[in-house]
Symmetry: C2
Subunit: 295 residues, 2 copies
């Protein structure tokens, strides 16, 4: 366990690790009562620069930064990678100590979902497409845990990465429809120098697959180039993206999608701002990426 | 519109009527920022002494009392009494002015459920029995609107009447499972002098039905007498309750139920504290009532 977590030295040592749900609520409540503005960065741990960029934004904009570090079982379907998902709490704490995050909230699954737990937050519309088709129970799990985390942390603001673009839209829709008193901020995708979007799942890739994974960003770049060059036919753009992705021998496309930035409804012809999203399996690893094209 | 609602005179004139969701959130947010403790009394209007007892408790325990007055369409099934449910906002405001409630929040359905609204909070377990069997979509509607009202009002405490006993358990389960930062208080049933539990639906009863409706409370009193006298067999108690209810010619029993006070799971033999619940139709009017028997 990192040194930063010795209890009783909260003033000097950050982040302070909280594992108990009730303790986190109580601390957050006390902070809000003192008028502090709380920023939450919900993560599943295995932190990379993408997550850290969110925590840095929270640090700049809020009085207190809580980073949740919880691999949420309910957003994984049977057969997905819940068991092998990387868990690196010590390393996460070290990284977060360097940017001055105040609290790391790393609850046990049995404290988040005690015996008899039986609640579900379901968001329709934007959650039904794309990831919602390939992972039908995923967004119910996301919406439910995110609402729990917002409630526990009493967050004024919560920070999400654009990498999970559809997730951000689902969370924003939940906030709107349920009048949740938390503001959502979406921050840009952070990429490796060669263009691969940072993801905790990138570490599943073999070195050969790691090279092949570049086709996601390359396909999105091509889509943007075509759109900026005046191409309006989504099918023409998909064909060009497919040609790039198929250069990777182990790539299998789950979807390519050009949609409205908010509803994500598919567009046959590009009009106004759009978001281009894709999900591609590289061998056994499923990767997603996206690009907003504003005009 | 009652005089109490002239805007700009909030200091003198209470309650202040708010119809806009965003305005209510904003005011509640400002009150919380000032450190005020907010008590919410969620109602569907048509206020009677049962509701007022909740508002009085809120007044005693909180700095600010918000009474929501909203006939929530999503908790009524097609064919239920949504359209004919009594709407008496002016009278409600007058009553609430007498006990010093601070805000009445009476939103429009189209502001609570704007076009494209697509969220649902589902609570399992305790919501599946009894009312959940007779009204399968009811508690999803209740849980969703109550969570919205908690979020909009930023309530520290919310007050519910024991009359809707199962509803209170569903709301408490939602609060527990979703870590909602609102404390639930349940207050005793308020009855007419002859024993009928107060309900906005009592006004549907003809004068003959009004007399027949007394069998609900009489059956519950008999159940308590039997339990206190040592009877432990639920079926014996149900038979005695049925004999009383059948004295009313237009009574039809939806359910009689002896259950665990928290889970509401049925008990064949009475053991420890129990709650006795029933739902009876008197002509076209469906009434519910209950009694906690603590030993």
């Amino acid at each position: 366990m990192a040194e930063a977590n010795v209890a009783g030295n909260e003033e000097e040592l950050k982040p302070y690790l909280v594992v108990d749900v009730k303790e986190m609520s109580k601390r957050a409540d006390a902070l809000r009562a003192q008028g502090k503005r709380i920023g939450l960065v919900p993560t599943m741990g295995a932190l990379h620069l993408g997550h850290l960029s969110l925590a840095i934004a929270a640090k700049n904009e809020c009085d207190v930064v809580i980073v949740s570090d919880f691999v949420n079982p309910t957003q994984f379907a049977p057969g997905e990678d819940y068991d092998k998902y990387p868990r690196t709490l010590d390393a996460d704490l070290t990284l977060l100590s360097q940017i001055g995050a105040d609290y790391v909230f790393a609850p046990k699954p049995s404290d988040m979902y005690p015996d008899g737990f039986d609640a579900k937050v379901h968001i329709g519309g934007v959650s039904q497409l794309l990831e919602g088709e390939f992972r039908p129970t995923h967004f119910d799990g996301v919406a439910t845990v995110v609402l729990k985390l917002f409630n526990i942390s009493r967050a004024n603001v919560a920070y999400f990465g654009q990498k999970d673009y559809q997730q951000v839209q689902v969370v924003q829709k939940m906030v709107d429809d349920l009048n949740v008193p938390t503001t959502i901020e979406m921050l840009p995708i952070i990429r490796e120098p060669d263009g691969l979007a940072m993801s905790s799942r990138n570490q599943y890739l073999s070195s050969e697959e790691r090279k092949e994974a570049l086709v996601l960003n390359e396909a999105l770049a091509e889509a943007e180039t075509l759109i900026r060059g005046g191409e309006r036919d989504a099918n023409v753009i998909y064909a060009a993206m497919r040609a790039i992705i198929e250069r990777a021998p182990s790539a299998k496309i789950d979807y390519m999608h050009i949609g409205d930035p908010k509803s994500l409804l598919p567009l046959e012809r590009v009009a106004g701002n759009v978001v281009v999203l894709l999900a591609v399996r590289i061998g056994a690893t499923r990767l997603i990426d996206n690009r907003i094209v504003e005009r």
